[in-house]
Each structure stands twice: as C-alpha cells, then as structure tokens.
Subunit: 328 residues, 2 copies
Amino acid sequence: MTINDIAALTGVAASTVSRALSRPDRVNRITRERIQAAARELNYVPNTQARALSSGRTETVALLVSDATNPFYFGLIRGAQQQLRAAGHALLLIDTEDSAELENHLLHKVRRSVDGVILAASRLPEQTLSVIAAELPVVTVNRNVPRVRSVVIDSPDGVMQAVEHLVSLGHRSIAYVAGPPSSWANEARWRAMRTAMARHGLTAARVGPFGVSRSSGSVAADALLNTGATAGVTFNDLLAIGILRRLAERGVDVPGEISVVGCDDIFGADFCSPPLTTLTAPIEQAGRVAVSMLLDHLEHLGETASRQTVLLPTHLTIRQSSGPAPRR
Amino acid sequence: MTINDIAALTGVAASTVSRALSRPDRVNRITRERIQAAARELNYVPNTQARALSSGRTETVALLVSDATNPFYFGLIRGAQQQLRAAGHALLLIDTEDSAELENHLLHKVRRSVDGVILAASRLPEQTLSVIAAELPVVTVNRNVPRVRSVVIDSPDGVMQAVEHLVSLGHRSIAYVAGPPSSWANEARWRAMRTAMARHGLTAARVGPFGVSRSSGSVAADALLNTGATAGVTFNDLLAIGILRRLAERGVDVPGEISVVGCDDIFGADFCSPPLTTLTAPIEQAGRVAVSMLLDHLEHLGETASRQTVLLPTHLTIRQSSGPAPRR
DNA sequence: CAATTAATGGCAATCGGTTGCCACCCGGTT
DNA sequence: AACCGGGTGGCAACCGATTGCCATTAATTG
C-alpha cells in the first residue's frame, strides 16, 4: 500500500506514480489511468507524514481555543471542521487552557506539523502574534493585529444595538460586565458600550473582570446589583447565564428589576430562564471563513492579501431577559 | 533547528543527538548534557513527520465524534484533550456527521497518521469495527464490541434508577423516547428500561426513533403525548430539552401533567426550564479514561489487555422536570 | 530529411529523524 | 600479555513520498 507497491504492480517508477496522483497532467493519459486504477483497487492512501516531509505540506490546520468546553467554540470548531474537510484537510484541536504561556509553547511545538493555525481568542500579546505570523500562516478570530489576517465578529456594533434597545426601554444606568482583561474582544465591547452610551449623554458603569464560566456569574451578579444599574450588558452568554441563575437565587426579577443582555447567542441562550436577550453572532460562519482565509493564504503565499480582515455582522436577538426599566 | 544542526554544533553524529534526546541512557552523561543544552538553547523541536516516518509513532490520536456541536462531546473532547496533553500527544478531531460511510472513509484515511483512535458513538457495524480494531489501536466510547477495548457509561443502570424514581412517584405508564437506531447506547437504554419496568409488572412504551437535535424534540414531544404516558425517559438531554420547549409551547405543564427525564446531564440541563431531571454521566472522565486505555494499549502492544472494558457509573440527578404522576 | 521542440518517464537526491550493527576504547581478569 | 565485556558513538540504511534534472522518444516544422 505504498507508492512503490503501485509502481511495481503497474511497471513504472515510483516517481511516475507520484505524479500520476498529484500532478495528473504531467503523465500520459494511458499510464495515468492505469496507475489510478491500481491505486483505487489497492485502496491506496498516501502516507501523510512522508508527503509532509518532502513537500512541506501537512494538510493539517491547528485550531487553538482557550477552553474547549466553552460552548462558543462548538460552533467555531464545527464551522472550521466543515470547511477543512471540504478541502481534504485535517483539524488539530488545541486547548490553551486560557494561558498565554501554554498557548505560545504549544504553538511553537506544532509549528512544523501544520500548514497554518487559527487562533480563536488568543491571549498572546500583539508583538508575539506578529512574530508567530511571520513564520507561520495565521488567521485570528476576534482579534485584530496589524498584518495578521483575521475574522472578527462585529460585536461592538451589536453592543451599540443592545444599548439602543435598552435606552429605548427607558434604561439610563447600564453596566458592562467585563470578561478576561487579556481578551481583545472584551476591550472592544467595552469601548463600543461607552461610545453608544455617550451618544445619549450617559455613562456606562463597568464591573469585573470576571472569568468566563457560569460560576463567575454568581459574583458578577452581585457586583452588577451593587452598581445600582437597571441593566447589564455582559461580555458573553456564559457569564450572562450564570448571572441569571444567581439573580433567580436571590429572588431578583429579570427583567422586572434588572435587564440582562448577553453576547454570542450560544447553545442554551434560547432555553435558559428567562430566555436571554443577546447578540447573535455567526459563529459557525466565522469558523468557515477563518479556514477559507487560511487556505486561500496558503495557496498564494508570497502575495499580499486582498482582504486582511473580514468583519462579520451581528444582530440583537430580543428574548425575555430584557424589558422596560423599573419605575423608581 | 534540525537534529543535524545540533550535531554540527556539538561535534557529534546526528544519531547520537537523536539518542541523547529520546533514549538518554544510551549515551554518556557528559555528551548527553552538552547535547541537551544545545537543543534547549536552539529551541529545538523535533519534526513530527520525520519522526513518524521512521519510527511509525505519530504521537497523535484521533477522536471521532458523530457531531461536533453536540454538547455531549464537549466534555469528552476536553477530557481526552487533557489526558493527551499530559502525555505530550496531539488530538485530531474528526466529525463523522453521523454517517457510517463517512466514518469508515475518514478512519481509513487517517489510519496511518495516528497512533490510535477513539470512537465516540460509532455508527459502524460490529464487524467493520472488528476489522478496524485489528489493524489499528481502537478504544470505543459507549459501544461494546468483542475484542475491542471500550469505556462505556453505565446509563442502563441509570435508566433503572430513573424508572425507580418515576415509579415511586406513582407513574405507571412511562415511555422511552428513542434516539438513532444506529446508536448502540440507544438500544442498551431501551433494554434497561424494559427490564426495569418489567420488575414492577409494567410495560414500557416506545416512540421514535428521533434525531438527536432540539428540533427533533418537537415531534418527539407530540409523539410522547400521544402515547398517553405520564412520563418519558429520553435517549439524551438534547432531545429532552427540545421536548420541554415544545411542551411549554403547547401549554403542557411539566412535571404537573407529564414528567421528563433526560440522559447525560449536558451543559444546559441544569438551567433549562424547568431544570431537567437527568442521568448524570461522567463524560469528561470518560474522555480521560478512553485516552488512558489507548495510550496504555500502545505501550504494551502485543500483550492482551488486563481490562478490556471500563464501566463508568452514572447517577440520577433530580431536578424539576419530574414529579408525582397526575391524578386521573 | 534534418533539426528543433514537446511530451513522457526514470534516476537519484532530499526531507529529518530512528535504529541495527559494528568499531573502538578502557578497565578489569586470568 | 592476551582476553573479555560493557559503555559509547558513528555509519548507513530506511521510512514513503516529492521533485529537479536528464534521457528517450515522438511530433512538428522549415
């Protein structure tokens, strides 16, 4: 089942077999068909490592996520997976456990075993990313770095929609519940929030940072209540769902006493209680686009990219966790 | 940054460098330390493909799931990932899209690029699995095949607990809401259900099969109501959550009019509405154990396994979707 | 009909490690 | 002094493809 077996069987040299399979126009039709038939019959599958060793192409892409159990990534993983399979590539999944150090280490380790990497929510400093991008094709997700192509979900725009929504419901005091400080998206959302509030002559409060897990939601909920705000916009849905649970525990009515708006519209946002008003992000699409950009980049290496960054729109999905501001 | 660079730098042969790094006791301490120091300094990372080509070991394990967006797999992926990283191995994630044919094809394709595979919820017939297991180290999850090591979550036992729970609440008419017929676990749960019911002189109804998605939940809910059962045990939580939504839509009170028990305790089961009574499965642990078994198997290839299959216990977690049977 | 060119296929080097085998050195035995 | 054996390290083959270069042959053209 190696290229040599096929060569022996068809009476040609191994190099000819290789060409017949990977550069068909380089060999005579008759020969080619004979070889291809033999390959099919023997159920030949080229050895990936051998191919990688000589050609440098591994047909594998690494996807780095900060936490494989975060539902946000499910969609991303799936989208990436789909697009990769379509191109015949494999997906190496790497969980960086939210550690910049580990991320850097693992990146360094797989550097030679993949054709490129997709960094979802990288915790690495900008400079490090630039260095890495210089020696390895990189596409980031939700992270903007000069000279590194990226797909970013336009949640800042969504945050503005959320603010409009809340303000129109009479809310005047709205707080931002922040996520990890090392998250680029976190800062982007906070900036958008301040801008949107300022447009109405309002000032946003900010609490956090909090970890992105449901348990962090409890402490976030308490902090949110302390601000006296009548509404909170959270860094992501995981946090929002945690907050909803804690508020229910404390007997605080949502949205009667306080409104909560999440971000991403992950699995669960539609069936938690109350169903979460949130920014719906095209996560799966983001995964597909990231892969497309990467593969495209691989095909035209030396060239400068036409579009360095793709912005994906979000929209506000109104459910039951947001409502009119309480009368005071 | 290849082995040769280090060899040149330290003035030894490449083979010595190789040994110094992978079989340290085979080379003199002085030499070894000099080489290791140089390797560290140059930030040397061995080329995976080259190593794999000559040694046959790729230090990569493939995890096949039937649908990467199914929350059940999140925990599995994470557990596997953790254990693999600890061993310095990489994780190749493969989504078989619930197709036996695709599963077989992809398995065949990666065969040579991985040291072993973990098949989570394989859709392949037993015979095919045996063939594959003979030519490639395999560990299955929730699937029992002779001579193939496996980790199975003891949900049949859990199903019995669920039946006891429901019967003690006065339910006499309980239906099983079935998942995909190709799922081994599905049949195992159904058998357990019938056995448990029979113990009380009762007969279980069965509806389905249904796909495992929340949208399938709608049709499942209607079918469940048609049976006239006062309680339903579902193949998995995804289906259960879908059912809860549909019942809410139709104005059916849960658990007032009908009780619903899920299976797996996935993300979301605790905060859906009402929170789902379900069989809590040690999913992450299953992932870890599967990897351990596989790596263990790899280390002692020729030998016969001590334990071919590991059974992981489940327990019933009672929340608010189950309650006393309605009085008629 | 000679000459130029295009199409085709083989040779052999190469990618970067791994590993069996052998040679050498050195201290310890008899 | 001859011998033995363990500890070290080098040589070279090998894993399975890819690819640059060249030789052969066939086709085209003036």
